[in-house]
């Protein structure tokens, strides 16, 4: 079949990485870093999403079409949030 087989070792490493990132993000949240708390939490969440999507869901090993579809979805979500925020961040109250 066209499906590339991913070594079990890679799955295990991704799994271990995901669990440690969960622990890390929970512990970091107790440290007061001001606005950086939010950024750190989101950055770790994005990393976890990449691990799940890329390895567990095989996005890394898929056709270019799948990657374009996925990038499109993320791009349009960013459009939604960015253009809405242009209103909220510049509205004079």
């Amino acid at each position: 079949m066209a499906e590339p087989t991913v070594a079990r070792k890679i799955y295990l490493r991704a799994y271990a990485g995901l669990l440690s990132l969960t622990l890390l993000t929970t512990l970091l949240a107790f440290v007061n870093m001001g606005w950086f708390n939010t950024v750190a939490a989101l950055m770790i969440a994005v990393t976890q999403a990449l691990l799940i999507g890329g390895i567990f869901m095989h996005a890394l090993y898929e056709t270019a079409l799948v990657r374009v579809i996925l990038a499109g979805g993320v791009l349009w979500f960013l459009i939604l949030i960015t253009l809405t925020m242009t209103d909220y961040l510049t509205r004079s109250r």
């Binding site: 079409l65 499109g72 979805g73 349009w76 459009i79 939604l80 253009l83 809405t84 242009t86 209103d87 909220y88 961040l89 510049t90 509205r91 004079s92």
Partner: protein, 540 residues
């Protein structure tokens, strides 16, 4: 690997018989016809509401119906026409019927999903009709908060639920088309050999897939706020009603392109076939479809110039709105140029195409007025806007739909249609439409607000003209319904390719067999390549 083609004399209409064979069909052509039946019903229900509104507006006071009833009429007219006619109109009927044939496929990628879409669509429609029969909904099709969440006492949740359900039908149709166009093209049919109809359907499918979920979640939030009496958009509880507007228009502005991109796609086919020439600047027209789909997502804030959104945000949305006008302009100019030195026939579909180009141009340039920040302030929420979007949606999308129905009618039914009557109907629709909606531009400029059950007497003359036009328009719509039903049984049989057109769908018999092609076609020529096909088509 390929299953042996079934050589059969029976076509898709006669292949299996009985009501159940239709209700359980997974044939894209039959599903297309099921959609035709559904949306025609909804079109005339929505049209009835429009007719009652126009009658009410004959006189300045609200005398024929009460203001409450009038509000329900325009709300239900909008809801039915937008979600149950315009959105599915061309993609779900003509798109369903034609797309697989045009790309040389035996069906859509997910035929069962396609049937499920039709059921979801009707389920949503029935729920909405239930809301209407129980007493209707009076929020306008836009469901603005806090009117819809806190103040309206009508069937908001039921109507929203109906739209929510039918939204999944849109999503699944779009998904099906995208997967099909990517994965099911026949050998040799590269992207730049695709007919422009496919490009348009692809672009509008992108919008289906990306925008509809946001509408679904927005309506869900409105319903939750109404059911649990919590304040998601309620300013008294820290919410913001403008957030609803952002989310609503993130869907509803691209939704306009869901309506008009397929219309443009049909017109590209018509213009080419009836000029017997490739569309002028194929690539520009193809990419302009994708351009409209993409940039169309960046302009929703132009519905909110006076809503209280940030003026800087409005500035960005205005600029982007002008950018989205460029691909539309490209299409209009390129279609016009296609006529130059062509071999122009005056068959009915071409009359609709010419009508479309004219009306869409008027709709488009009045859009330029509304995109200009300062000009929008006065004419927004007036009849100017009403006229503008009717020129796009009715003058544009419905004209193209009718043009497409006539164009592919021989393929759909295996019979021709009465040409003289059809020309008369096309002319009636064109004249009736302009008489209905052109006076509304003037009304809007004079300051007549939309959604008014009663109005100051100085606006009456223009309203009377508009109502007169609407009655002509109504005749223009009933006419095709009558003669096409007649033609289904009694008109002369059609040859496989009556227009000498180039699309693969014309290589099938009329009507096509169940699996469209006896042999998978192989394409080694570009779209609209009359030169390559002139022997086959008997031209020269």
């Amino acid at each position: 690997m390929i299953a042996a083609p079934e050589i059969t004399e029976r076509n898709y209409l006669t292949g299996k018989e009985g009501v159940l064979s239709w209700l359980l069909t997974t044939d894209h052509k039959r599903i297309g016809l099921l959609y035709v039946a559904s949306i025609t019903a909804f079109f005339f229900i929505g049209g009835l509401f429009a007719l009652l509104m126009r009658l009410e507006l004959l006189t300045p006071p609200s005398d024929l119906v009460s203001p409450e009833t009038y509000n329900k009429l325009f709300s239900m007219h909008g809801i039915i026409m937008v979600w149950f006619f315009l959105i599915p109109s061309i993609p779900a009927t003509l798109g369903n019927f034609v797309v697989p044939m045009m790309i040389g496929a035996r069906d859509l990628a997910f035929p069962k999903l396609n049937l499920a879409s039709w059921y979801l669509f009707n389920l949503g429609g029935i729920v909405t009709l239930y809301a209407i029969l129980r007493g209707g909904v009076d929020t306008g099709w836009t469901f603005y908060t806090p009117l819809s969440t806190t103040y309206s006492t009508t069937y908001v949740i039921a109507a929203a639920a109906g739209i929510f359900i039918s939204g999944f039908s849109s999503i699944l149709t779009g998904l099906n088309f995208i997967a099909t166009i990517h994965g099911m093209r026949c050998p040799g049919l590269t992207w730049f050999r695709l007919p422009l109809f496919i490009w348009g359907m692809y672009a509008s499918s992108l919008i289906f897939v990306i925008a509809t979920p946001v509408l679904a979640i927005t309506l869900l939030m409105v319903a939750v706020e109404r059911i649990f009496q919590v304040g998601i958009f309620d300013p008294a509880l820290g919410g913001d009603p403008l957030l609803f507007q952002h989310m609503f228009w993130f869907y509803s502005h691209p939704a306009v392109y869901i309506m008009v991109l397929p219309a443009m796609a049909v017109v590209s086919e018509l213009v080419s076939t009836f000029s017997r020439r490739p569309v002028f600047g194929y690539k520009a027209v193809a990419f302009s479809s994708l351009g409209i789909a993409l940039v169309g997502f960046l302009v929703w804030g132009h519905h909110m110039f006076v809503s209280g959104q940030s003026i800087y945000s409005a500035l960005a949305f205005s600029l982007l709105s002008y950018l989205v006008a460029i691909p539309s302009a490209i299409k209009v100019f390129n279609w016009t140029a296609t006529f130059y030195k062509g071999s122009i026939s005056w068959d009915t579909p071409m009359l609709y195409a010419i009508g479309f180009i004219g009306l869409f141009t008027i709709g488009g340039i009045t859009g330029l007025f509304l995109a200009a920040l300062g000009l929008d302030v006065h004419v927004t929420d007036t009849y100017f806007v009403v006229a503008h979007f009717h020129y796009i949606m009715v003058g544009g999308a419905v004209m193209a739909y009718l043009g497409g129905i006539h164009y592919w009618w021989p393929k759909i039914s295996g019979r021709m249609y009465p040409e003289g009557l059809a020309k008369l109907a096309a002319l009636t629709v064109f004249l009736g439409f302009n008489l209905t909606f052109f006076p509304q531009f003037i009304l809007g400029y004079l300051g007549m607000p939309r959604r008014y059950a009663a109005y100051p007497p100085e606006f009456q003359v223009l309203h009377v003209l508009s109502t007169a036009g609407a009655s002509i328009l109504g005749v223009g719509y009933v006419l095709p319904l009558c003669y096409l039903i007649w033609a289904w049984r009694y008109a002369p049989k059609a040859p496989p390719n009556p227009w000498r057109a180039t699309g693969l769908e014309w290589k099938t018999p009329s009507p096509p067999s169940v699996h469209n092609f006896d042999e998978t076609p192989v394409v080694n020529y570009g779209a609209y390549d009359y030169e390559a096909l002139k022997g086959e088509l008997g031209l020269g």
